[in-house]
């Protein structure tokens, strides 16, 4: 067999092992977390790979000061497709919150880039949060805090307070878990 063919076989073998490891670990994790095993674990793996690549690209663009490109990349990510939590567990929802949070943060920090009205930003946050029933995650907390920030900039302080308190509640819960219920 030619060395290149052997290399290809090894490559796909390695990929298969990686897939099995990842999927296996994910099932174990879900079982440990008392969650329902997702209908389509392969969808979660594919989503993770897509996000990893895009976040890396955004890292590079931000590092070079290319905020237009970074926002474009995140907008492209935002356009989906995003799997449902039924298909790929609440992990995918947390990952979506992470991507949206990063996009909104960038847009707030660089309003000169493709300016959007605050109404549009709020729509974006709502879209990111969705109506999924999710586990507490720091990504979700950040998105709520961003929602408060946008409301505050609009002078809608009651709504801002509500959003900040939601973010605080999630973070406090996560801290409590981290401390083993000491709080």
């Amino acid at each position: 067999m030619r060395p290149r063919a052997i290399g290809n076989i090894t490559r796909f073998g390695t990929l298969a092992i990686g897939m099995v490891l990842g999927a296996g670990g994910m099932f174990v994790g879900l079982a440990q977390a008392d969650r329902i095993v997702p209908e389509r674990p392969d969808v979660l793996v594919a989503l993770g790979q897509r996000l990893e690549v895009q976040h890396r690209v955004v890292d590079l663009k931000v590092g070079k000061g290319d905020f237009v490109g970074a926002i474009d990349s995140l907008e492209s990510l935002r356009s989906g497709p995003w799997p449902s939590s039924e298909d790929s567990s609440s992990v995918s929802v947390a990952l979506r919150h992470d991507a949206y949070g990063r996009l909104v943060r960038l847009r707030l920090d660089h309003p000169e880039v493709d300016p959007l009205g605050e109404g549009k930003l709020l729509e974006m946050i709502e879209e990111g949060l969705g109506d999924d029933d999710t586990e507490a995650s720091p990504f979700t907390a950040r998105l709520w805090a961003l929602r408060g920030e946008v409301y505050e900039s609009q002078g809608q302080d009651d709504e801002a307070l509500e959003a900040y308190e939601k973010a605080l509640e999630i973070n406090a819960l996560l801290l409590e878990r981290e401390l083993g219920g000491e709080l």
Binding site: V28, G29, V62, A160
Partner: protein
């Protein structure tokens, strides 16, 4: 393959640890992370070449994959990259009983980092709530929310300080 392994390991850890997966909730994007002088294409090319080398070698063991993931975390942290760094922190594996002292020390450091990042996020939000309270001095709803959030911030600060030792 390096990146793919990292993704799969990240997913593994996300699923296993997401109930205990904190990270800073309000960290801004790194506006000027040091990127070096390499062009983006060069960086991709270097990574691609490394991936090719990985493809052509024997399949890595699970321990090797973990070591690679840790190396990736370290690389990203060294570059001051915020987004993936936060993700990496959030998916750090938790300690298992019976680990080596070195493992336990590393797990403790990871836990402390998560606690302190949560402290940052909690105190950032508290600051914002109390900022609102200042402009609504006559509204007890705001002042009470400020008091509650300050208490949360103090608790988190104590937890972080205690953890850091």
């Amino acid at each position: 393959m390096k990146r793919g392994n990292a993704v799969l390991l990240s997913l593994l850890c996300v699923a296993a640890c997401s109930k205990r997966a904190p990270r800073a909730a309000a960290a801004p994007e790194a506006a000027s992370a040091p990127g070096g002088d390499l062009g983006m294409d060069d960086e991709y090319a270097a990574e691609s070449a490394a991936a090719q080398r990985d493809y052509d070698s024997d399949p890595p063991t699970f321990e090797e994959l973990e070591a690679r993931l840790e190396q990736l975390d370290a690389d990203l942290s060294a570059q001051g990259i915020s987004g993936s760094e936060e993700t990496a922190v959030s998916v750090s594996p938790t300690s298992e009983p019976g680990g080596t002292p070195a493992d336990e020390s590393k797990d403790k450091a990871g836990r402390c980092e998560r606690i302190c990042k949560l402290r940052d996020a909690i105190c950032d939000v508290s600051e914002r709530i109390c900022g609102l309270a200042e402009t609504h001095e006559d509204d007890s709803k705001y002042s009470e929310a400020c008091t509650r959030s300050e208490s949360r911030c103090e608790q988190a600060t104590t937890a972080c300080s205690t953890c850091d030792g």
